[in-house]
């Protein structure tokens, strides 16, 4: 099946905006553009809105049904066994904090949680905080020279005291995909759970949590062509069942007495208060659109763009590419550092060329230290990107180097 990125652009209001957005949007790993159907579904809900799971008037029933549909759509995207395994959160960060709080509450001093040095701060800081609260031991998988998680070290790092291995599914800096098979095997050998931070993987096609064999999976809506302020925590039913709530209040209880309360089963147990209804609806619609895209053809398209970009970057003197050279093992996220040039200055010049590029530590300071740098520039692709976007980036980089030196 062929794929036309320009045809796909017609599904995104961004490309038709009257106020001329950046011509070359390459900051999709930070936030992708929203799908038109997602935006429309949110406007539809907010125009005739009601709360969910509370009223029995027609409008409330309509909102409740739309919210339940969003849960089913998210479950379908992840190949989850049941929609009850889908918990809507404020984002991937909140989802990770939820697991750190709820699963973390079941841990004892000396229990071990394994992360890696390649994690986004969102999958590191919550575990540091848990260490303070519970006295757990936080252990780190080392990285290979090109910044991949060194799964060869699993046998040394994962011990019988390990309760959870929490890793990125795809690095937000290098695009490197984690060898999940090795991780789940190591976890199973000691009875540990596995969490994947899918914030950077989910935008690149449906995920099969059953095939991955993990216990928790998180991702955010705004990177998946959906709205901001919404994320998903998927938890295997039996992994969620015994966990205490994260936030408490209305909507997450079974029965409340003056002195104590009984909690609702998942997913409601983990969705205290009025949820982000419109955002959940928008996310469900965005994921539905995403599931309909021709992913094998998109993968080929993005691999071609990735190769074009990597080939162009290789010609730039003093440029250090971060991450594996093997394009098959990475999502279309490419970070690089240029000697003597600061990433923000490069972004500034690229902006003149209509190229939206990210620069800085990318919320991954331990990984930056691994590479011996303070920050990097990152180009992150989405299916709607084209050769023109890549060429504009490469032209802009040439200009930035000329103007900044």
């Amino acid at each position: 099946m062929s794929f036309d990125p320009l045809a796909l652009r017609r599904e995104f209001p961004f490309f038709a905006a009257a106020d001329k957005p950046p011509r070359h949007y390459l900051d999709n790993a930070a936030t992708s553009q929203i799908h038109g159907s997602a935006l429309a579904s949110m406007i539809d809900h907010e125009t005739r809105r009601a709360n969910v799971m509370r009223g029995n008037h027609a409008l409330a029933a309509r909102a409740t049904e739309a919210y339940a549909t969003a849960r089913q759509q998210s479950a379908r995207f992840l190949h989850a066994a049941s929609a009850d395994e889908i918990i809507f959160t404020a984002g991937a960060t909140t989802a990770l904090n939820l697991v750190a709080a709820a699963f973390g509450a079941t841990l004892s001093a000396g229990d071990e949680v394994v992360v890696s040095l390649a994690e986004h701060h969102s999958n590191l800081v919550p575990w540091q905080q848990l260490r303070q609260r519970r006295g757990i031991v936080l252990k780190f998988l080392p990285l290979t020279g090109d910044g991949r998680i060194d799964t060869n070290a699993l046998t040394d790092v994962v011990t019988p005291r390990c309760r959870l291995i929490a890793l990125t599914h795809c690095s937000n800096v290098t695009g490197a995909q984690t060898d999940v098979t090795a991780v789940t095997a190591a976890a199973r050998a000691v009875g540990a759970r596995v969490l994947l931070d899918g914030a950077q993987r989910a935008p690149h096609g449906p995920v099969d949590v059953a095939a991955l064999g993990v216990d928790f999976y998180v991702f955010s809506g705004h990177k998946c062509y959906g709205p901001g302020g919404i994320g998903v925590l998927w938890g295997r039913a039996e992994a969620l069942q015994g966990l205490p709530p994260f936030l408490t209040g209305g909507g997450m209880v079974g029965e409340v007495f003056p002195e104590h309360s009984a909690f609702a089963p998942p997913p409601r147990r983990f969705e205290a208060g009025t949820p982000p209804i419109a955002a959940a609806i928008g996310l469900g619609v965005a994921l539905t659109a995403l599931m309909d895209w021709p992913w094998p053809a998109i993968h080929d398209h993005q691999q071609a763009l990735l190769n074009r970009l990597l080939h162009g970057l290789a010609d730039i003197p003093g440029l250090c590419l971060l991450g594996p050279r093997d394009t098959a093992a990475r999502c279309p996220v490419v970070s690089f550092a240029i000697a003597d040039l600061h990433p923000h200055d490069i972004c500034q010049v690229l902006d003149d060329h209509g190229v939206a590029l990210r620069g800085g530590h990318l919320c991954a300071q331990p990984l930056m230290r691994h590479f011996g740098i303070d920050g990097a520039n990152r180009a992150s692709l989405a299916p709607y990107n084209t050769n023109d976007d890549i060429d504009a980036l490469l032209t802009g980089l040439d200009d930035a180097i000329r103007r900044l030196r």
């Binding site: 500034q348 800085g360 530590h361 300071q365 920050g375 103007r403 900044l404």
Partner: protein, 141 residues
Amino acid sequence: MSQDLYHQAIKELAQTASGVGRLTSPTASARLDNALCGDRVTVDLNIEQGRITALTEETKGCLLCRAAAALLARQAPGRAAADIATALTALQALLRGEAGAAASWPDLSLFTPVSPHKSRHGCVLLPFQAAQRAVEAADAR
């Protein structure tokens, strides 16, 4: 456009790296980070009888931040410590686009093109904010 932002004088200022280093036993020091971008400036200064006798800076930052740090280090020695606050206020006003704001500190006007780029104001201000923090630390002694 960044054509204006990265003009020759700004680039030369950043490349001079004036005052880069640390003082062995400064009157006061301050280190400030820009949490947004990870830039970091450390300022050491010696103050005698209300006057800055030496100021050094260590800057890990973008070209604009390094240029501002170099300007600070070049101009501060010999001035009253209180002039740092004046310079900081003038720089803030300049970045807000207020006319005549640069008059109180030589060459502040080099940063006039930064004014329309709000996301870069913090880069230019960071060295002066660190210096002001150091002056306040010296005053608190």
